[in-house]
């Protein structure tokens, strides 16, 4: 039995989930940029799966493996063209056992 209440690593949380990853075909892409907009930058803390991170050059990068397909980043950054957002191919992505 684990007492998880003191544990705040998102990676550990995502580890509980079931995913079928469509390797090499990320469903969300970040447009190349020099420096991120306010909203794009915000995703580095607002994405609930911590998919967005800053690289050494200060640009925002995405790794979609833990994505829960919530749509938050779409709502914040699709209209400005900073990201391209799609659902994974049918059957791929997160699979909630409980939901």
């Amino acid at each position: 039995m684990t007492i998880a209440v003191t544990n705040i690593r998102v990676e550990d949380k995502l580890y509980q989930n079931r995913y079928v990853v469509d390797s090499g075909r990320p469903h969300i892409k970040v447009r190349p940029h020099q420096s991120p907009s306010v909203n794009l930058y915000a995703l580095t803390s607002v994405c609930p799966a911590k998919c967005y991170e800053l690289n050494d050059q200060g640009q925002v990068e995405i790794t979609t493996d833990g994505c829960m397909e919530c749509g938050t980043c779409r709502v914040l950054c699709e209209a400005s063209g900073e990201i391209e957002w799609n659902y994974p191919k049918g059957g791929f992505g997160v699979l909630f056992k409980f939901g």
Binding site: V5, V46, C70, G71, R74, L76, G91, F96, F98, G99
Partner: protein
């Protein structure tokens, strides 16, 4: 498959899609339902409370075999500050009735059951199929869909968009706007497993009785938000949600908020020793009445969360989804039985039927609430909970301070924090929005 034409295609096998497909198929229509998940429910997240009345209108004997967790006999509302909560609690044995009114459910399991009923009613369901595009004829009428499976357009007289809050297809086709950051909340949620008896004990429950806690206050760190804790049979669903616009403005992390809530001294003992088995995130439409998009057009209708049919004030969504799905299905059946085409003029029937139901009436009642709470989130979610806690503590601590001084101190604290005028105006605006 591509040669066949359906009476209706339903996109999505969530609450609204299942209700629509069931309603149409059980009345003899040829229905195709498409779901991108591996099974119905694999992409869906909910608290979750399920309201019996709205499901009864679709499947009257659902209690015989639906996977229900506990029926609710108690609800608590908590106003929280960092170390305390001021609560309101309602518990009644009347809820231990033969046909209980509200249940907790686990969506992935419930949706699988609902989906089985939908298929038994005659719907053809294709899972692992993402619909990529709506297909139109030269006049712009929706005539079918394209999917990520090989093959041509799948044709149907009408398409029911039950695709949920993100509503990718409808927004890409220009039928409605992408939700705005201020009209959707991001909620994160965990499933904590505990032995049934432990849950019974901690919440004072027996034999399938359930309790839910809904909490607001400093836990949302100045944002408009709500946390919840729902008892299932052998697990507790716990989560918190705030507006996406406010998350972006504050750069708070949703998982931090959740951890914070879980560690609150009022919450921690309730989940102590539990095993976490899932972490989920999902949006909730919170724009209310004013955010409802056009509900129908040539060859299409939109139902459930995709149409922002969600009552954020009462935390109701799945029942509005089920009801709008059922009503859309009934309208389509009527039009079909009259031998009329599925064009805009005729599909307007769906909207007029929906307006007569509680769905639109309830949303209209609270049309000003989202704006009030969201423009005033600091007062409602931080200042007032803190003041309430101070007032309660002042009231309960027995010391040598004369009561009259305590009372004055409480009143002064409220006025200092918000000014007399501010308090009155918040109260009046709240009363009007609630009316």
């Amino acid at each position: 498959m591509t040669e066949e034409k359906f009476d209706a295609i339903v996109i999505g096998a969530g609450m609204s899609g299942n209700a629509a497909a069931y309603t149409m198929a059980s009345r003899g229509l040829k229905v195709l339902q498409l779901e991108r998940g591996e099974y119905a429910g694999s992409k869906n997240v909910q608290g979750a409370i399920m309201y019996a009345n709205m499901l009864e209108k679709i499947i009257p004997d659902f209690r015989d075999d639906a996977p229900l967790e506990r029926h609710l006999i108690e609800q608590r509302f908590w106003m929280m500050d960092d170390t305390s909560h001021t609560g309101m609690q309602y518990r009644s044995d009347d809820f231990n009735e033969t046909n209980p009114n509200r249940y907790t459910i686990i969506r992935a399991q419930f949706d699988k059951w609902f989906s089985r009923k939908v298929r038994e009613a005659g719907t053809t369901l294709l899972c692992e199929t993402t619909v990529t595009e709506l297909a139109h004829d030269t006049e712009g009428k929706v005539i079918g869909v394209r999917t990520d499976r090989a093959g041509d357009v799948i044709l149907a007289d009408v398409v029911v968009l039950a695709e949920g809050v993100n509503g990718l297809l409808g927004t890409r086709a220009g039928l409605r706007q992408t939700p705005k950051p201020e009209t959707v909340a991001l909620a994160v949620k965990e499933m904590h497993f505990l032995a049934e008896e432990v849950i019974d004990q901690r919440f004072g429950l027996k034999a399938n009785e359930g309790c839910v806690i809904e909490a607001a206050g400093t836990i949302s760190r100045n944002m408009a938000g709500l946390a919840f804790l729902y008892t299932n049979k052998e697990s507790i669903s716990i989560g918190i949600g705030c507006l996406v616009s406010e998350f972006a403005a504050t750069m708070e992390s949703p998982y931090d908020l959740l951890e914070n809530f879980k560690n609150h001294p009022s919450v921690r003992p309730l989940i102590a020793g539990s095993e976490v088995k899932e972490y989920a995130a999902h949006l909730i439409p919170e724009g209310g009445y004013k955010a409802i998009p056009p509900l129908f057009g040539n060859g299409w209708v939109v139902v459930g969360d995709a149409a922002q049919l969600n009552n954020a004030v009462h935390r109701e969504g799945s029942n509005l989804a089920m009801t709008s799905g059922r009503i859309a299905g009934e309208a389509i059946v009527q039009i079909k039985n009259r031998g009329k085409p599925m064009i805009k003029e005729n599909l307007a029937l769906y909207k007029s039927m929906l307006e007569k139901s509680f769905v639109i009436k309830d949303l209209r009642k609270y049309k000003d609430m989202p704006a009030l709470l969201h423009t005033n989130s600091r007062n409602f979610f931080t200042t007032y909970p803190k003041l309430l806690s101070q007032a309660a503590q002042n009231f309960m601590r027995v010391d040598s301070t004369p009561k009259i001084e305590k009372e004055r101190a409480t009143t002064a604290a409220f006025i200092k924090a918000r000014s007399r005028w501010g308090l009155v105006s918040d109260a009046v605006r709240f009363a009007f929005a609630w009316r």
